[in-house]
């Protein structure tokens, strides 16, 4: 390429990038018309039940990808005048690594149960002042006061769910009923699993009758041998979007979590979610406040506002997980408010409630909850779990 042409090319690139950045500057269509605060999708924001007294002008969230309804965030910004900055992560470990490195300025994070106890031990979280969270009363007590945070001193629930078996009833003739069934040769090469070492080793331990959080090296060794038999039958390990390969027909069954299974079923009705006889893996995502949160007052305001039933119902529409907030279910039941569903069709809140309650995926049956197992931090044994994972995947 001679110099002259190179310069022309560079000039073209610069012009193109300028044009693109100019396009990026468009503002949002949000407006507040008189008294009413309306989001860009046309939702009329309810007033805060707890008066917002925060003096901070900003709130820094560090949350899971695709886990906060956009309307919810926008309404909070409109009613409080606080600007919300949102960073996202796709694994607890990512969030933990960033927080434990120090110097981050997040006000709220969304750790899953097993990493909460570790974060508390490491002094990464600050105690929550329950006096500032009157809307905590909205939660179903079944989702409070877990062993990972007794008395909810550091966390409040967000959403819950399970990791369990999923299969396409149109393709799978003999559906699996237990984790152990997944070892059957007829399923070989047709399965998608979460790329989650703790969950997959955990379910293997369950088939052997051991605890999902065992630290016993001989039990883990046994699980390794058993899991090594299964791994060649697994076509895909995917923790980002396991539903994609199920919907596309690349696989016929496997393990996935609540929200993915529900959305897959919306696309392909024959996709079915079952709770294995050994018990599913159960989890809960929570809100927590890092030790050095610079805008704690805004964080309390955000928590209170988003805990309101007339805001948090959006979860039923946007993110089909297990609802921890009882007030939302009471609010939604029989409520004829017009809303649009996942596919943008007009429906009512009452219909969303009925779909939620009728689906065993989201509304986990009581027996399944009682039978389920919760992953916990295993401390010293974690490198053993990792080595097992490396070995079963590296041993081919």
């Amino acid at each position: 390429m001679n110099k002259n042409n190179l310069f022309k090319l560079l000039a073209l690139l610069i012009i193109a990038s300028l044009a693109l950045s100019a396009c990026g500057g468009g503002g949002s269509a949000t407006q507040s018309t008189g008294e009413q605060k309306v989001t860009s999708t046309g939702f009329v924001c309810p007033e805060p039940e707890v008066p917002i007294t925060a003096t901070s002008k900003e709130l820094n969230l560090f949350v899971w990808t695709e886990y906060i309804p956009p309307d919810m965030q926008e309404c909070f910004e409109l009613v409080s005048g606080i600007k919300v900055n949102r960073d996202e992560y796709s694994a607890n470990e990512e969030m933990y690594a960033k927080l434990s490195a120090g110097g981050s300025s997040y006000d709220l994070v969304q750790p899953t149960d097993y990493i909460v106890s570790l974060m508390i031990r490491q002094g990464l979280l600050q105690e929550l002042d329950h006096a500032k969270l009157p809307n905590l009363k909205n939660y179903n007590p079944d989702y409070l006061n877990f062993a990972f945070d007794p008395g909810n001193k550091y966390t409040v629930p967000y959403l819950a769910g399970t990791d369990s078996i999923v299969y396409n009833a149109d393709i799978v003739i003999n559906p699996p009923k237990s984790w152990a069934d997944l070892w059957k040769p007829e399923y070989a090469g047709k399965m998608v699993f979460l790329d989650d070492s703790r969950a997959v080793i955990g379910l293997t331990l369950l088939t052997l009758g051991y605890d999902v959080n065992t630290k016993d090296p001989t039990q883990l060794e046994e699980a390794k041998v058993k899991l090594a038999e299964l791994v060649p039958s697994i076509k895909i390990f995917d923790s980002d979007s396991p539903k994609t390969s199920l919907i596309a027909g690349d696989v016929a069954l496997g393990m996935t979590w609540t929200g993915e299974a529900f959305l897959a079923q919306q696309e392909v009705p024959s996709i079915t979610y079952v709770y294995p006889t050994e018990g599913a893996i159960i989890w809960q995502d929570n809100w927590a406040m890092p030790k050095d949160a610079p805008h704690a007052d805004a964080a309390y305001a955000f928590l209170n506002y988003t805990m309101q039933a007339n805001i948090f119902w959006m979860i039923l529409r946007d993110f089909p997980y297990t609802m921890t907030n009882q007030a939302v279910l009471d609010f939604a039941k029989g409520n004829q408010m017009k809303v649009s569903d996942y596919n943008g069709n007009e429906t009512t809140l009452s219909a969303l409630y009925d779909a939620y309650m009728a689906s065993p995926i989201t509304n986990t049956p009581v027996e399944a909850i009682q039978n389920a197992h919760r992953i916990d931090d295993v401390g010293d044994a974690l490198p053993i779990y990792d080595q097992i994972w490396t070995e079963v995947k590296g041993g081919q």
């Binding site: 690594a97 076509k235 690349d250 779990y385 990792d386 994972w389 490396t390 070995e391 590296g394 081919q396």
Partner: protein
């Protein structure tokens, strides 16, 4: 002082090199030293680094194990060595394939009319404007069971009345290789093109005058003179491929662990930065050794600078 600076050439040189030196020191040398220090440490139960001096991480990496099946006190466990070898062989295969595809294309571009050359080069560069990961995802759409390639083959077969079951292409080692070759092809084409384009055409006339046929001309003139480009391309391809794992994760279905996955897992899932640091250093050393012997044999690719 200013006067001395104006007079002294070497002082000017030092001053000009200063920003880069500081930059490299802060962002390369210091992190490297920290990595080395951490790699000799121990993991605490919660996954923090206990600073001490132990070779445990390196011993584990090279397969010394006290957990033997046959009841011996110690044995060799090739787990991590195998992962390193697998990454090495994937990098090797990718590089060889990339060279064999890039060379003819670069040759074609270099021999085409000067007016068209820039258009061709432009076409080689255009895909790089799109994010690396998005391009890998595009391959998913092509390769999957109900993807574009299977649909087209199925359509043709249907016309010919041949029964056809969709091919299983995605989530296979072949898909990983295709993705890798695709991603790194431009980095080989450009340096080879540069060195081919520089060859003086009178050399071909001389070869013809001396009675060489086209094969002999290629082997004795073109190939040796384009070797710097091949070497430069190899360095640009081989080193990043060694540490890459995104392509194998997306197109291979995460069935295998490469050294890149291994290192990433240590810092996230396993929370063992000490072992992760040791693995990073070993990867770096291994890449340096391979590159060293390669460049000693073929000379250092000066085309990197030109490309």
């Amino acid at each position: 002082m200013l006067k001395r600076l104006r007079e002294s050439k070497s002082a000017q040189g030092t001053l000009l090199a200063l920003p880069t030196t500081v930059w490299l020191f802060v962002l390369l040398i210091i992190p490297l030293i920290l990595t080395a220090v951490v790699s000799f440490g121990k993991r605490s139960p919660d996954g923090n680094v206990i600073y001490t001096f132990t070779l445990d991480n390196y011993i584990r990496l090279f397969g010394y194990s006290t957990n033997c099946a046959s009841g011996q006190a110690a044995c060799f466990d090739p787990l991590y060595v195998n992962i390193l070898l697998r990454s090495l062989s994937l990098a090797f295969n990718t590089t060889v394939l990339v060279i064999s595809l890039a060379y003819p294309l670069a040759y074609f571009i270099a021999r085409s009319h000067p007016k068209q050359r820039n258009t061709y080069l432009f076409m080689v560069l255009i895909p790089l404007w799109t994010n690396f990961v998005i391009r890998v995802y595009a391959w998913m759409m092509l390769l999957r069971k109900e993807g574009a390639i299977n649909i087209i083959i199925g359509w043709v077969m249907n016309l010919l009345h041949i029964p056809f079951t969709p091919l299983e292409m995605l989530y296979t080692p072949g898909a990983v290789l295709v993705g890798m070759v695709y991603e790194f092809l431009p980095f080989m084409i450009l340096p080879i093109y540069t060195s081919l384009e520089k060859i003086d055409l009178s050399l071909y006339e001389a070869a013809a005058d001396l009675g060489a046929n086209s094969i002999k001309t290629f082997l004795r003139v073109t190939l040796p003179l384009s070797m710097p480009g091949v070497v430069a391309g190899t360095i640009l391809v081989f080193i990043p491929v060694m540490g890459t794992f995104i392509v194998s994760d997306i197109l291979g279905g995460r069935q295998v662990i490469l050294v890149g996955n291994l290192i990433q897992r240590q810092f996230l899932d396993a929370r063992d930065p000490t072992f992760g640091s040791a693995a990073s250093l070993i990867l770096m050393v291994m890449t340096l050794i391979v590159t060293y012997f390669y460049t000693r044999k073929f000379g250092f690719g000066e085309e990197i600078v030109v490309a």
